[in-house]
Assembly symmetry: C2
Homo-oligomer: 190 residues x 2
DNA sequence: GATTTAAGTTGCGAATCGCTACCTAAAAGA
DNA sequence: TCTTTTAGGTAGCGATTCGCAACTTAAATC
């Protein structure tokens, strides 16, 4: 019943071609990266769709069922899983004790940027899918912008502007960072 | 062998409780949202991990294998899938015709914000996972900021500031947008 | 009391996943 | 040349997961 992305222990070659480029290599599959953790919950096939439904104001079992077209047992399983991971909160209604509400927690709401980034990517590459209901800012009724990567000073930053660095070296202008050239970006770590 | 998130056709109740709140309801599961499209590829269990490895400079079959700890046939399947969807590009090396390189396309690189958002979420809620190698801006060696949602004028915007609106209504200050109060946000659609 | 509704649980066949072993073509070594 | 190694896969098998349909339970409603 567990997703089992399972943090891998026996890494065959710890060095790989890392030393060749003289830069840090993030240990893939190790647990010092948040991605496997996130994927343990949200990597399940229906998790993001359930999250989207919850953000749409769907709270009840049968409504999820109708909105998503998911199988009953799978929905049951997913909801329990999301509750276990603190993304949804299960609450029995007081006025009708048959009813159960699944509400997003703050942890669940905090997945919104990830979901929007995925959705925007899907729109961009999904053969003219303009996605009619637009997400707008309440204040001025204007659509929100694309999810972007930002530098510390809010500049929009691109793939080629990025580099990995050890946490101890961030402040210091040492190592091979802050160099002049674009230096070919051999292995962008993320 | 196909992922088969399969856009659902027989939606039982097209109205649901939508009309009650007097606001637009985005058709969940319909194809006017980019999320199911994105999930069709990236919803597979290993897709994001493979993407991360590719961003780390892993290009070859055996390197993915060692870095991820994935099964051979599954890796083979996933790589083919990602190539089919234009996220990776398969290229036979000229100097050693045994070797095949899987390189990210622009479409693949464009998944970086989604991946970072997921990763940052995993870091935030993953019990003190500081994630040592830090992604920094090449120019000043400072870490990039968190992935955030932005209004059209670059203001960071939160969940409660958002609302769904029909595309035809975005410019006009009509409907119930731009109203004074926070009006309780009954069903945030996303 | 009978029926309906909400939220599941159970059983079954089909598809998917992970593991191990095998395969093929090209390169390297003796 | 002949053997071995390397790179990139397939094939087979058991375990798990998914989707579908039927059944269950408890509470509300008629």
């Amino acid at each position: 019943m567990q997703p089992k992305i399972e943090i891998i222990s026996p890494r065959p070659d710890p060095a790989l071609d890392c030393a060749a480029m003289g830069k840090l290599r993030e240990p893939l599959g190790a647990d010092d990266c948040g991605l496997p953790l996130a994927l343990e919950v949200m990597g399940e096939r229906w998790s993001f769709m359930i999250l989207r439904a919850a953000l749409n104001g769907v709270y009840h079992f049968e409504d999820f069922l109708g909105a998503l077209g998911i199988a009953r047992n799978i929905l049951s399983n997913r909801l329990a899983n999301l509750v276990t991971h603190g993304i949804l909160q299960r609450e029995q209604m007081a006025d009708d004790r048959r009813k159960v509400e699944y509400r997003l927690t703050q942890k669940g709401v905090d997945l919104l940027p990830a979901m929007l980034a995925l959705r925007q990517w899907g729109e961009k590459y999904g053969l003219g899918v303009p996605s009619n209901p637009v997400l707008v800012d309440k204040r001025d009724c204007l659509p929100i912008g694309p999810i972007t990567m930002r530098a510390h000073d809010d500049r929009v930053i691109a793939y080629d502007d990025l580099q990995w660095l050890d946490r101890d070296e961030v402040g210091k202008a040492g190592s091979d960072c802050c160099g002049p050239g674009p230096e070919e970006l051999p292995g962008l770590r993320v």
